[in-house]
C-alpha cells in the first residue's frame, strides 16, 4: 500500500465529517475514527519491514523540473512519529466526541482535525523537502483553524492568530533554509540530502541554512524566545491542546531536528545553538509553569519545558543523547496527552481550571484522580514510570557534557529544570486533587462517562507498561527511530538501575528539591507575583499592531471599495509601464502598407466614434447610454463579420442582445439618471487617465497592425491541424472545444460560478435589510401599461420559439465545421427563452419549466468534465477528442466527435447561466411588488366576461 495514500487518507477523510454530522454525532466521530484507524492500519502493515531495517519509498513525479516531487519514505523515525500522530489522533477523536458540547459544530471540528492530521503525517513521511514545506505550512494553517475553533472567544481568535504569525514566520525562514540546503546537496530529496553530510557541513552556507531551519523548528516547537505562543494557544478546546501540544504540532520542530540530525548535528554551531536554546527553554518554562494557576497553562509551560529538554538532547549531537531524545518524545506524548485530557475532564466537570478554586477532587473524581496522578508522577520523573527512565537518560547525558569548558554548568541547570518539573507536576496533583473537599466548585464534580476517560486511561496503561518493562514495550521502537535518526544501527539499553551514577543523585536532588519547593509554594508565589515580568502578549501586540496598521493603511488606500479607484490604479500602472517601455526602447515605423479605405468601414467607424462620444456626453441618462452601448456592440459585431470572423460576430451580437435585455431589467430598479457625484477636477483627472489609456492602446494596436509579429503566429498550426487533428473545418470551434478545450472548460466553470454569484447576491439583497426595505417600498415612477403582456407580443414569441430553437440546434450541429457551436447555440436558445419570459412574465413562464437552472449549469459542467475524463479511458490526456464519420440513412454522411459532447456541456452551461441571471433579477422584481400573471396574456378575451363590463 502506497505511503502517499496514508498521507492522503486524512485529507480525503476530511470530507466525511461535514457530511456525516447530519447523521448524528456518533456517526460523525465513528467516520473520523475509521479514517484515522485505516491510516494507522496501513502504517502498521509497513511496520514489520521498517523495523527490520528496510526503508520504504513511494515516488510520484509532480513537478520534476522544479525538483518538487511527491516522494514519500518511511523509516523508523517516520514510523514512530506517524504512529504517534495517528494513534493519539484516534484517542483524541474518541475523547472529543464526549468533550465537545452539543452547541459546538462537531463536523467542523473533525474536519479541521483530519486536515491537521493529514498535514502532520505528510511532514513525517515526506522524502522531498519542498513537499515537506508544503505540509509544514499546512500544519500552521490547519492548527490556526483548530486553535481558533471557538470563534466566539476573543482569546481563541487571538491565540490562533499569534500561533499562525509565529509559526508562519518561522516557516518562511525555514523555506529559505531548506532551499539553501537543497542547493548545497544538489537535490531536494531528503534521502539524497541525508547522504551529503560532508558537503553540507563544509559549505559556507551551512551556518545560514542551519540558523534559518532552526528558526522554523524553534518557532514550531515553542522554544525560547518563541515559547510565548503556546500558552496562548490553550484557548483552544482541550482535545486540540492535547493533540497539538503532546504528540503533533510542537513535535514537528523536534521531528525536523531529528530528521536533519545526520547532516546538521555534530558541529559546535549546532551544539551551542540547539543545546543552549533547549536548556534555557527547559529551565525558564519549568519555572513559569510552577507559578501558573490555570491547569492548562501549567501543562502548556511544562510542554515547552519538555520540548526544551528534547531539543537540548538533540543538540548534544551524540548517539546516546539522540536515543534519550527519541525515548523522551514517546514518553512525553503519553503522559502529556493523558494529562491534558484529564485537565479537560476537570474543566468539563467543575467548569474551572483554576488551581486556586480546585482541590479535594480526589474523593469526588477518583478515576480522574488516579489517571492524573500516574501521568503527573511520570512527568515528574518518579520511578518506576517511563518519565523517570528518560529523565535519567537525559541527566546521564548532561553529566558528561561540558558547555564552553564548564563541566558543572549543564548538570546544574538540568537538575534545576528537573527540580521545577517535579514541583509543578506534584502541584498539579496536590492543589488539584488533594486537600479537603470544597463547597464552592462552580459545578458539582463527578467522574465523566467511560468514553471520556477511556482515552487517557489507554495512555496511562501504556506509560505504566513502558515504565515497568521498557525494553519489550518500547525498546524496539526506540531502536528503529533512533537508528533512523542517527543513521546507524542502535541498541538502546533502558533500565531502572544504572548503579550509583551522578544521574541518580541529580534525580534524587530534583525530587527532594521539588518537594521543598512545593511546600514553600505560597510565599514563592507571592514573590513571583511581586516581581515585574515581561508580558509576552503585550510585546507581541506591540510589534504586530503597527505592522497591521501599516498593512491596513496600504490596503485601504488601494482597495477602498470604489470600483473606479481599482480601475484607475490598474490603468495608470499599465499605462505607465507601457509608456516607460515605449520611451526607453527603440522603435521604428511599421513595415506593412496600410490597406485602402472603403466606404463601409468608414461609415462603421464614424458610427462607432459618434456613439462613443455621445455615450460620454449623455451618460447621465442611463437608458440612452444603453442605446449607445448597443450601437457600439452592433458595430463591433459587424466589424467582426466584415473582417471574416463570423463566429465572433455571432457570439458578439448574441451577447449584446442578452446583455441589453438583462441590463434593461436591472435598470428598472435603479435610478433612471446617474447623479453627478464627482467634482470637475476629479472628472478631468479621470478623463485624462482614460484618454491616456485609450491613446496608448490605440497606438499599441496601430503598431501591431503595421508590422509583422516578432514570433511566428500559432495560427498556422491551428489552421493546418484543425481538420486532421480535431476533425473540424471551423478552426475557431476546434480551438474552443479541442485545442484549447481545457481553457474553455475553465471558462464555462467561471461562467457557471458567476451566475451562481449573481444568484447569491440577489439572495443577500432579499434578506432583511436596507435593500430589501427599498424594494418593498418600491413605487414605479412611470405609469404602468395596462396590458403588461400584450397578446400580439405573446403570440409572436410563441411563433418564434420553434424557429429560434431550430436555429439553435442547427448552429450547434454545424459548429464543428461552420460558424457556430455550443456557446453560440446556448446564447440563441437563451435569447429565445428570454423572449418567452418577457412576453408572459417570469412567474407564469417559470411555472412551466421542468429544469432548475442551477442543475442546468451543474449538468453542463459535469458533461464537459465527463467528456474530458472519457479520454482517460482511452489512455489519452484529459479532453483529447476523437471523431469519426457516421452514415445514418436517410441523412447524409455526418461527423460525430467527442468534442460535441463537450460542446453540449458548454451549451447547457451558457443557457443555464443566462437564465439564472434572469431568474435572479425577476426575484427582485417580485419583491418589488410585481404581480405574477395567472394567464399568459393580460387582455380581454371574447366571452370571458371582462370585455363587456
Amino acid at each position: 500500500m502506497s505511503l502517499a495514500l496514508i498521507a492522503a487518507l486524512p485529507f480525503l477523510g476530511a470530507l466525511l465529517p461535514g457530511l456525516l454530522i447530519r447523521s448524528g454525532r456518533n456517526a460523525c466521530a465513528l467516520a473520523t475514527g475509521t479514517v484515522t484507524a485505516l491510516a494507522l492500519l496501513m502504517l502498521g502493515l509497513h511496520a514489520p519491514a521498517v523495523l527490520s531495517g528496510e526503508v520504504i519509498h513511494t515516488r510520484i513525479e509532480w513537478m520534476p523540473a522544479l525538483g518538487l516531487n511527491a516522494n514519500f519514505f518511511l523509516d523508523g523515525l517516520g514510523l514512530l512519529f506517524a504512529g504517534l500522530i495517528l494513534g493519539i489522533g484516534l484517542l483524541i477523536i474518541l475523547y472529543a466526541r464526549f468533550y465537545l458540547s452539543s452547541r459546538d459544530p462537531m463536523g467542523q471540528f473533525y474536519t479541521y482535525l483530519l486536515l491537521f492530521q493529514g498535514a502532520m503525517v505528510g511532514i513525517v513521511l515526506s522524502d522531498n523537502i519542498l513537499l515537506l514545506l508544503v505540509f509544514w505550512e499546512l500544519t500552521s494553517l490547519s492548527s490556526f483553524l483548530l486553535i481558533g475553533y471557538w470563534k466566539h472567544l476573543p482569546e481563541g481568535r487571538q491565540g490562533a492568530r499569534m500561533a499562525l504569525a509565529v509559526t508562519g514566520t518561522g516557516g518562511l525562514a525555514m523555506i529559505a533554509g531548506m532551499l539553501i540546503l537543497g542547493q548545497i546537496a544538489g537535490s531536494y530529496d531528503l534521502s539524497v540530502i541525508l547522504q551529503s553530510r560532508e558537503a553540507i557541513q563544509a559549505s559556507d552556507w551551512y551556518l545560514p541554512a542551519l540558523v534559518l531551519i532552526l528558526l522554523g523548528c524553534f518557532t514550531k516547537s515553542a522554544q525560547f524566545p518563541f515559547h510565548f505562543w503556546l500558552p496562548h494557544a490553550m484557548a483552544a478546546p482541550t482535545p486540540v491542546s492535547a493533540y497539538l501540544h503532546s504528540a503533533t504540532m510542537v513535535k514537528a520542530g523536534l521531528f525536523l531536528m531529528a530528521r536533519m540530525w545526520p547532516v546538521l548535528a555534530g558541529t559546535p554551531e549546532w551544539f551551542y545553538l540547539v543545546a543552549t536554546t533547549g536548556l534555557v527553554t527547559m529551565v525558564v518554562a519549568a519555572k513559569i509553569a510552577l507559578f501558573k494557576d490555570d491547569l492548562k497553562a501549567l501543562l502548556a509551560f511544562s510542554t515547552v519545558s519538555h520540548l526544551g529538554l528534547v531539543t537540548m538532547l538533540l543538540g548534544f549531537g551524540t548517539k546516546a543523547a539522540a536515543i534519550a531524545a527519541i525515548f523522551h518524545i514517546i514518553n512525553h506524548a503519553t503522559f502529556k496527552a493523558a494529562l491534558f485530557m484529564c485537565a479537560g475532564i476537570v474543566d468539563h466537570e467543575t467548569h474551572t481550571r483554576d488551581l486556586k478554586r480546585l482541590g479535594g477532587l480526589r474523593r469526588l473524581m477518583p478515576v480522574t484522580f488516579a489517571l492524573s496522578t500516574i501521568a503527573a508522577l511520570s512527568m515528574a520523573g518518579v520511578p518506576p514510570l517511563n518519565g523517570f527512565l528518560s529523565k535519567e537518560m537525559m541527566l546521564e547525558e548532561v553529566a558528561h557534557t561540558a558547555w564552553a569548558g564548564q563541566v558543572w554548568l549543564m548538570p546544574a541547570f538540568a537538575t534545576l529544570g528537573a527540580l521545577f518539573s517535579v514541583a509543578y507536576s506534584l502541584r498539579f496533583i496536590a492543589h488539584g486533587f488533594l486537600g479537603p473537599v470544597r463547597k464552592d466548585y462552580p459545578s458539582k464534580p463527578h467522574d465523566p462517562p467511560f468514553g471520556m476517560w477511556a482515552a487517557p486511561a489507554v495512555l496511562v496503561l501504556l506509560l505504566v507498561a513502558i515504565g515497568l518493562a521498557p525494553m519489550p514495550v518500547a525498546g524496539w521502537l526506540v531502536d528503529a527511530a533512533a537508528g533512523a535518526t542517527t543513521g546507524g544501527l542502535v541498541h538502546a539499553h533502558i533500565s531502572h538501575w544504572h548503579g550509583l551514577t551522578p544521574a541518580l543523585w541529580m534525580s534524587v536532588a530534583a525530587i527532594g528539591g521539588g518537594l521543598i519547593l512545593l511546600s514553600a509554594h505560597r510565599p514563592l508565589m507571592r514573590a513571583w507575583l511581586a516581581t515585574p515580568r515581561p508580558e509576552a502578549k503585550r510585546l507581541f501586540d506591540g510589534v504586530l499592531e503597527p505592522l497591521a496598521t501599516a498593512a491596513r493603511g496600504v490596503t485601504q488606500g488601494l482597495h477602498d471599495g470604489a470600483l473606479s479607484r481599482y480601475f484607475a490604479i490598474a490603468t495608470v500602472a499599465v499605462v505607465t509601464a507601457g509608456a516607460a517601455a515605449f520611451l526607453t526602447g527603440s522603435h521604428q515605423g511599421g513595415t506593412r502598407a496600410p490597406t485602402p479605405v472603403d466606404l463601409v468601414p468608414v461609415v462603421g467607424w464614424f458610427l462607432l466614434i459618434a456613439a462613443t462620444v455621445a455615450l460620454v456626453l449623455r451618460h447621465h441618462d442611463r437608458f440612452l447610454s444603453l442605446v449607445f452601448v448597443g450601437v457600439v456592440g452592433l458595430i463591433v459585431s459587424m466589424g467582426f463579420a466584415y473582417l471574416s470572423a463570423p463566429d465572433l460576430a455571432l457570439t458578439q451580437i448574441l451577447v449584446e442582445v442578452a446583455t441589453v435585455i438583462l441590463l434593461l431589467l436591472a435598470l428598472n430598479f435603479l435610478p433612471k439618471r446617474t447623479p453627478a457625484e464627482t467634482g470637475l477636477a476629479r472628472r478631468l483627472r479621470d478623463g485624462a487617465i482614460a484618454c491616456a489609456a485609450g491613446l496608448g492602446s490605440g497606438g499599441l494596436i496601430y503598431l501591431l497592425m503595421t508590422r509583422n509579429a516578432a514570433f511566428p503566429s500559432i495560427a498556422d498550426y491551428h489552421l493546418a491541424n484543425a481538420k486532421t487533428g480535431g476533425g473540424g473545418t471551423n478552426v475557431v470551434n476546434v480551438i474552443l472545444v479541442d485545442f484549447r478545450g481545457f481553457d474553455t472548460f475553465g471558462e464555462i466553470t467561471v461562467l457557471g460560478i458567476a451566475a451562481l454569484v449573481i444568484f447569491a447576491l440577489t439572495e443577500t439583497v432579499l434578506r432583511a435589510g436596507p435593500a430589501n426595505d427599498r424594494l418593498l417600498g418600491w413605487s414605479q415612477r412611470h405609469r404602468q401599461a395596462g396590458d403588461r403582456h400584450p397578446l400580439m407580443f405573446v403570440v409572436a414569441t410563441r411563433m418564434v420559439l420553434p424557429i429560434a430553437l431550430m436555429v439553435g440546434i442547427y448552429i450547434f450541429l454545424r459548429g464543428h465545421n461552420l460558424p457556430g457551436g455550443g456557446f453560440i447555440a446556448g446564447l440563441v436558445v437563451a435569447v429565445a427563452a428570454l423572449m418567452q419570459y418577457m412576453a408572459s412574465g417570469f412567474g407564469w413562464t417559470s411555472a412551466r419549466k421542468r429544469v432548475e437552472y442551477h442543475a442546468l449549469i451543474a449538468v453542463g459542467v459535469l458533461i464537459a468534465a465527463a467528456a474530458g475524463v472519457g479520454s482517460w479511458f482511452a489512455g489519452r490526456p484529459f479532453l483529447t477528442s476523437a471523431y469519426g464519420y457516421v452514415t445514418l440513412p436517410p441523412l447524409e454522411k455526418f461527423e460525430l466527435a467527442t468534442a460535441m459532447v463537450f460542446d453540449i456541456g458548454v451549451f447547457l452551461t451558457v443557457l443555464g447561466a443566462v437564465m439564472l441571471a434572469l431568474a435572479s433579477i425577476s426575484r427582485i422584481a417580485v419583491r418589488a411588488g410585481e404581480r405574477v400573471s395567472a394567464t399568459p396574456y393580460d387582455v380581454d378575451l371574447p366571452g370571458d366576461g371582462y370585455g363587456d363590463r
Binding site: 405609469r783 401599461a785 409572436a796 418564434v800 412567474g843 395567472a934 387582455v939 370571458d944 371582462y946 363587456d948
Partner: protein
C-alpha cells in the same frame, strides 16, 4: 440564364431599393410619431422582402441552390416588425399623447395600454 429572370431579379432589387429609400425619407419627412411609425414598416416589409425574393431567385438560377434562410429571415421580420411598431406606439401613447385627446374605444374598457382593471381571477401560479 434567361434574360426574363434577370429582369425580374433586377426589378425586385430596384423595388427593394425604392421602398427602402421611401421608408427612410418618410421617417425624416412625416411630422407626427404615429405617422412616422408607418414609414420604416414599408422598408422592412416590401423593401427587405423584395430583396430576399431577389436573392432566392438569383441563387436558385445562378448556383442551383435552393435556400431556406431567406424565407426564415422574411418570416422573422414579418413577425417582429409589428411587435416593434406596437411597442413604439404604446410608449408614444404613454409619454406624449394627452389622455383626453384619445378617441373612445367603443367598449366598456379603456385602451389596452391604459386599462388598469383587474384581469380575471386572483393571480396564482399553476400547481404543476
Amino acid at each position: 440564364m434567361e434574360p426574363a429572370f434577370e429582369i425580374v431579379v433586377t426589378a425586385l432589387l430596384v423595388i427593394a431599393g425604392t421602398f427602402g429609400l421611401i421608408g427612410s425619407f418618410g421617417l425624416l419627412r412625416l411630422t407626427d410619431a404615429m405617422q412616422r411609425l408607418h414609414a420604416p414598416t414599408k422598408a422592412t416589409t416590401v423593401g427587405v422582402g423584395a430583396a430576399l425574393i431577389a436573392s432566392v431567385i438569383d441563387l436558385y438560377l445562378y448556383r442551383s441552390e435552393l435556400t431556406w434562410q431567406e424565407l426564415l429571415v422574411a418570416v422573422f421580420l414579418f413577425i417582429t416588425a409589428p411587435i416593434t411598431a406596437l411597442f413604439l406606439a404604446k410608449i408614444h401613447l404613454h409619454q406624449t399623447v394627452p389622455r383626453d385627446l384619445l378617441p373612445p374605444t367603443g367598449t366598456g374598457r379603456d385602451w389596452a395600454t391604459f386599462d388598469q382593471t383587474a384581469n380575471g381571477p386572483t393571480p396564482e401560479l399553476p400547481k404543476d
